[in-house]
């Protein structure tokens, strides 16, 4: 029985358009029940022990679904989950049509001649607000990068929506330490991906601090984690 089903999924996948192979999953673009859909397949990673692989893959599929729902309930835009197959670890998600990653957006705004500083600052502010809201819900994203944030243009709105994606490494926690590390991960990804954006990231953090009720303890932890990095002895 199970075999029949996985045949169905694998046959379906063979006709879908492979968009990319991330570290976590293969990502396909397809149609599901008539809707433009992104299919995330967490295929077995043969480099790791099968017991570890199954544990991680299952946990991440479940966490992705849980955190998406939690975020949406709090009014944070994330793709809608249409269907989950926990045996092949496939998630069918709403495709955010006509969207652009924040990463690509910043990269194009940083091109010489593009004087979009004020607009980028506005975006940094919005990112800070949304992350504050997410952390206030005790959702830790676990893999914050500018590639995991999408801008969805809505013709009816002047401002585009900010959509968070890729919740595979997410989990629930109220600890300031976990939230601080979440921001630290973003800071490193942000600054290494977008050289010379230190002041932009500062704006993001400021807005985070101003938006979250519990930001003081989180920012304190962020400073601690940064210091740990700098103080590490790095011998050998």
């Amino acid at each position: 029985m199970a075999q029949e089903k996985s045949m169905a999924v694998s046959e379906f996948l063979s006709n879908a358009e492979l968009l990319k192979q991330g570290a976590e999953a293969r990502v396909y673009r397809t149609k599901f029940l008539g809707k433009p859909t992104i299919l995330k397949e967490r295929f077995p990673k043969r480099y790791r022990h099968p017991v570890l692989d199954e544990k991680l893959t299952h946990r991440r599929t479940v966490q992705e679904v849980r955190s998406i729902l939690r975020c949406r309930k709090a009014g944070i835009s994330t793709p809608v989950v249409y269907f989950v197959d926990y045996t092949t670890h496939c998630i069918f998600l709403e495709e955010i049509v006509g969207s652009l990653t924040v990463r690509d957006h910043i990269a194009s705004a940083q091109q010489p001649g593009s004087c979009a500083d004020a607009e980028l600052e506005q975006l940094a502010k919005r990112i800070g607000q949304i992350l504050a809201k997410m952390h206030d819900e005790d959702v830790i994203h676990g893999d914050l990068t500018t590639s995991n944030m999408l801008l969805r243009r809505r013709p009816e709105n002047k401002e585009s929506d900010l959509v968070l994606i890729d919740f595979g490494l997410s989990y629930n926690s109220a600890l300031p330490e976990d939230k601080g590390v979440d921001l630290y991960v973003l800071e490193k990804a942000f600054l290494s991906t977008h050289p010379n954006t230190e002041s932009l990231f500062e704006k993001l953090l400021k807005s985070y601090a101003a938006s979250s009720k519990r930001s003081a303890a989180v920012i304190k932890k962020l400073d601690e984690v940064r210091l740990r990095g700098r103080k590490r002895s790095m011998v050998g």
Partner: protein, 335 residues
């Protein structure tokens, strides 16, 4: 032709290597080995380096068949590393540079690993996994810096392995990591350990404290053997490393991986990384213990690149620093 001699002694190895335009002419090395259950202390390590450095220097010149007059530049490790051993080696480098009348160059140790790896493997623009006793970083080059995309948020992977070795008293000869690797080959039972990946970052301290707590209980109750713990620890740590490397590759759109640093000569790590690379059509580059483990030639090679791009370190600037991040260095020798 440019000939550079490199002095390395930031941890428990002391090495001096000579490079002539990409050719390793000599690369002798000594290791300070401590008894099982003990790590190496800075002052003892410095004493060891002091005792052997002139012998190693003599070997380096003899094996290369060169006289001091043939050297164009003296490179030494400026940091990061342990203070006392760094000072010892820098002192000798400064002295010979003045005796021989040659320019000095202070080199970032991590950059040394990367440039040596690139030289030996001919990897062009790889995502670099730098794993050693003191460092765990995923690095990629862009806009004149080796940028750190991921790293450990607490202890280094090599440190985690070394401290585990001390817990169950595995020999430090030739290195704790090597002995864990050999024992792991005989392990078969997979013991579940914490697994902590945060985006492109990792954390090892939770695994270490967990295994420190349970190891003796599990071993004395016969629940598993020491070999099984070695096996499970390697499987867990290396899975995390491969995962963050793959995430950085996906993030940067890179199709090459280079593994450098002392832990990088672990064949199981290389094998796992190879499987990952094959799955995504990427290429793996790795080196053996001669160049993975700290050595003098890597400092010479990074020095060679820096020297050729016009850099020198004035005597008054030839200090050392225990903390020196990879991304602090402006890479003047790459586009």
């Amino acid at each position: 032709m440019t000939v550079v001699i490199g002095f390395e002694g930031s941890a428990n190895k002391i090495g001096i290597g000579i490079i002539r335009d990409g050719e390793v002419l000599s690369n002798p090395r000594r290791t300070y080995i401590t008894p099982p259950g003990q790590g190496f202390m800075p002052s003892d390590t410095a004493r060891h380096h002091r005792a052997v450095i002139l012998t190693v220097l003599k070997e380096a010149l003899e094996q290369a068949g060169l006289k001091p007059a043939d050297i164009d530049c003296v490179a030494y490790t400026k940091g990061p590393g342990m203070g006392a051993p760094l000072v010892t080696v820098a002192l000798v480098a400064r002295t010979v540079a003045q005796l021989w009348g040659k320019p000095l160059l202070g080199v970032n140790h991590c950059i040394g690993h990367i440039e040596m790896g690139r030289l030996i493997t001919q990897a062009n623009n790889p995502t670099v996994l730098y794993v050693s006793g003191g460092n765990t970083q995923v690095i990629a080059y862009s806009e004149r810096r080796y940028r750190i995309f991921g790293e450990t948020i607490d202890i280094a992977v090599g440190n985690c392995l070394d401290r585990f070795a001390r817990v169950i008293k595995i020999s430090n000869d030739p290195s704790p990591g090597y002995n864990i690797e050999q024992m792991a080959k005989k392990g078969s039972q997979y013991v579940e350990l914490p697994y902590t990946v945060k985006g492109m970052d990792v954390s090892f301290s939770g695994i270490l404290s967990y295994i420190e707590e349970v190891a003796h209980k599990m071993l004395s109750s016969g629940q598993c053997a020491a070999e099984d713990l070695c096996f499970s620890l390697q499987e867990t740590l290396f899975s995390m490393l491969v995962e963050i490397t793959e995430r950085a590759m996906a993030h940067c759109g890179s199709q090459e991986v280079l593994i450098v640093g002392g832990v990088g000569c672990n064949l199981r790590l290389q094998e796992m990384m190879g499987v990952m690379c094959k799955e995504r059509g990427a290429k793996l580059f790795a080196t053996d213990e001669r160049f993975c483990i700290d050595n003098g030639a890597m400092i010479a090679q990074a020095g060679w690149e820096m020297f050729r791009s016009g850099q020198v370190t004035e005597l008054e600037d030839s200090w050392i620093t225990q903390r020196y991040r990879t991304d602090e260095v402006e890479v003047t020798w790459r586009d």
